[in-house]
Symmetry: C2
Subunit: 377 residues, 2 copies
């Protein structure tokens, strides 16, 4: 068996931002890190080689999708998800819960688990805290997530409270369900509690009491304001142990990630760089813009003169616009590549800044550049 999962805290910036190393059976991830989302066993439009080329160290795969198609058992029989998708670096899988609640045609949550219908063919399925773990073990995930209930931002306090309490009970059941022979895999608990400090505190204490390999913050980026999210981030990470990785699920915009790192978060995932690329939106230090804009029609320059990605090195805005307008696959590829490079380059720059103890000035320069001011970071 390969080395067990572990987290190594390498440096802490005066502001609380952390630099660390997540050691897994498929190699080490340097944090802070952004994880590209590979919903159906592929980060849309990218090869594993290209992902490595833009600096991806770990990808996220969605258990819900793979459970339905091709089925986790088929993936398992084919040698696991790493071999299936030809990716030899770490994989984090979600529990499937979030997609069940958002995509499932019918979804009944009980103490026992979640009964749902497939969004593909309407077939009925049941996911419990126990089989959410065993499905992820069958896929061969390096970092598994517990099944949790994630209420929307407009849920009543009583709903948020009961979802937090249920998630905590499910956390315990998920932990007990682990296959002891696969102990080199990690299982993360998920903190819930919405924007209510008391509930977040109760959730964190309960999870830490159970003891997990890492801790995720769920229930954010579900429709609340940026201010509300930053409010939670001002205290929530500090409820978690220093010696375990902290993962903010589904976040987010570059500015949200930078601000969350300042609050001591280590890991992030979001569909923004990939999904928005396919809608023509490209990220730059000066903020995002859409390639379709008429001013790009004859622009021989790259997306971002300071970017070192393959797209910016070899292709003009005019060509990318031409590809996008003509719905050419190559356009989706080149724009996805650029956006992922941007996100991973940002993660790398944050890590460097933390290592040098200058994250606060980094964060300020980042926001100034985004506001259109002259700023180097």
């Amino acid at each position: 068996m390969s080395d067990p999962f572990s987290f190594e805290l390498v440096a802490t910036d005066p502001c609380g931002a952390r630099m660390g190393k997540v050691h897994t059976a498929h190699g080490t991830v340097e944090t802070p890190i952004f994880m590209p989302v590979g919903t159906q066993g592929t980060v849309k439009a990218m090869t594993p080689g290209e992902l490595k080329g833009v600096g991806a160290q770990i990808v996220l795969a969605n258990t819900y999708h793979l459970f339905l198609r091709p089925g986790h058992e088929i993936v398992g029989r084919l040698g696991g998800l790493h071999r299936f998708m030809n990716w030899d670096r770490p994989i984090l899988t979600d529990s499937g819960g979030f997609q069940i609640f958002s995509l499932g045609a019918l979804c009944k949550i009980s103490e026992e688990g979640a009964l749902f219908r497939s969004h593909i063919d309407g077939s009925k399925h049941f996911l419990s805290p126990e089989n959410a773990v065993s499905v992820q073990e069958t896929l061969g995930s390096d970092i598994m997530m517990q099944l949790d209930e994630c209420p929307p931002a407009d849920a009543r306090l009583s709903q948020v409270e009961s979802a937090m309490a249920l998630s905590l009970r499910w956390a315990g059941r998920g932990k007990s369900a682990r296959d002891p022979e696969k102990s080199n895999r990690a299982l993360f608990g998920i903190m819930q509690g919405g924007i209510h400090e008391g509930l977040r505190r109760e959730s964190a204490f309960g999870l830490v009491d159970l003891g997990f390999d890492g801790y995720a913050m769920g229930g954010l980026s579900v429709g609340e304001s940026r201010e509300a999210m930053l409010g939670v981030l001002s205290y929530a990470p500090h409820l978690l142990p220093l010696d375990k990785p902290r993962y903010l699920m589904g976040v987010g915009k570059p500015e949200d990630i930078v601000d969350a790192v300042a609050c001591g978060v280590d890991m992030f995932d979001c569909v923004l760089p990939t999904r928005n690329a396919r809608n023509g939106q490209l990220f730059t230090r000066q903020g995002p813009f859409n390639i379709k804009r008429a001013e790009n029609r004859e622009d021989a320059g790259p997306v971002d003169r300071r970017c070192g990605c393959e797209t910016c090195r070899h292709y003009s805005r005019a060509y990318l616009r031409h590809l996008y307008v003509n719905r050419e696959i190559l356009g989706l590829r080149l724009m996805t590549l650029h956006n992922l490079f941007y996100y991973l380059d940002l993660a790398h720059a944050m890590k460097e800044a933390i290592g040098q103890g200058r994250f606060i000035s980094f964060q300020k320069a980042f926001h100034r550049a985004l506001a259109g001011e002259e700023a180097e970071y």
Copy 2:
């Protein structure tokens, strides 16, 4: 100015198959060669680097599409098609005529040229034999095609005859319209005449009398039977000079290409490997098959055990089927890559066989393998 265009006949197989070198301002193409089709300034789903990786030496671009979008003048102002699409090897452009006739909403052919409406926005345009050449010169094509009229397979003899005669007059006008400062580019004449030997003869003699850098055979693969096409190929290439390249337009299936090479054809283009890949059809020595077939669902093996392409080296049929069923872009990419590798590997194998004077046995083995028999080639 770079070296002028030239053709070098390197070897001739006892059966008449030819091995040669086409020298252009953007490098040399070894024949027989298959040219991937890059309709809109991109071979669908592929980067230039991947095209080189599968052995592509030259690509075809469609003048009609680039004329309408983004416009040849924009491409010219951006430095030409090579720079626009980041492809530094040779480019052959068609004249635009074939697409006008097949895609244009309205198309009126007169002695002067072709009046047509854009299939995109209905706008009116006119293409003459003269501006067909100047549009291609503006794009920066290495090998330009004359404007011709290509009648369908079911056209009456009188239609085929008048189209051949008009194409011949347009050939002369196209040649006269060339920019003398761009003489390092090639212009090919196009033989017409359907399946009528007398008309093919008249067309060939007329074109050779005018004198072109190379000669294309048009009006085939337009709906006639395979036997009818092979009938024309039994004599048509021999109406053309030995010291110029011969290009069979729009052909075709692997078996058609192999048989045409035996008849002395040097160059081919076709959308089959790329378009069929996007429909899930994959080419192998044993013939094509569709990835969607249920038997591929759990097949851990590659598309073709004997294939050395990236797709076959790293991905299973089960994964490709999963990607295809889920309409994932990566599936279109990996299948396009395999099919282009197959076509270019076939071209390479034919070249080797001709160089060793064993093309007849190669051709036989190719057909035996295709029929499911044991055969090495």
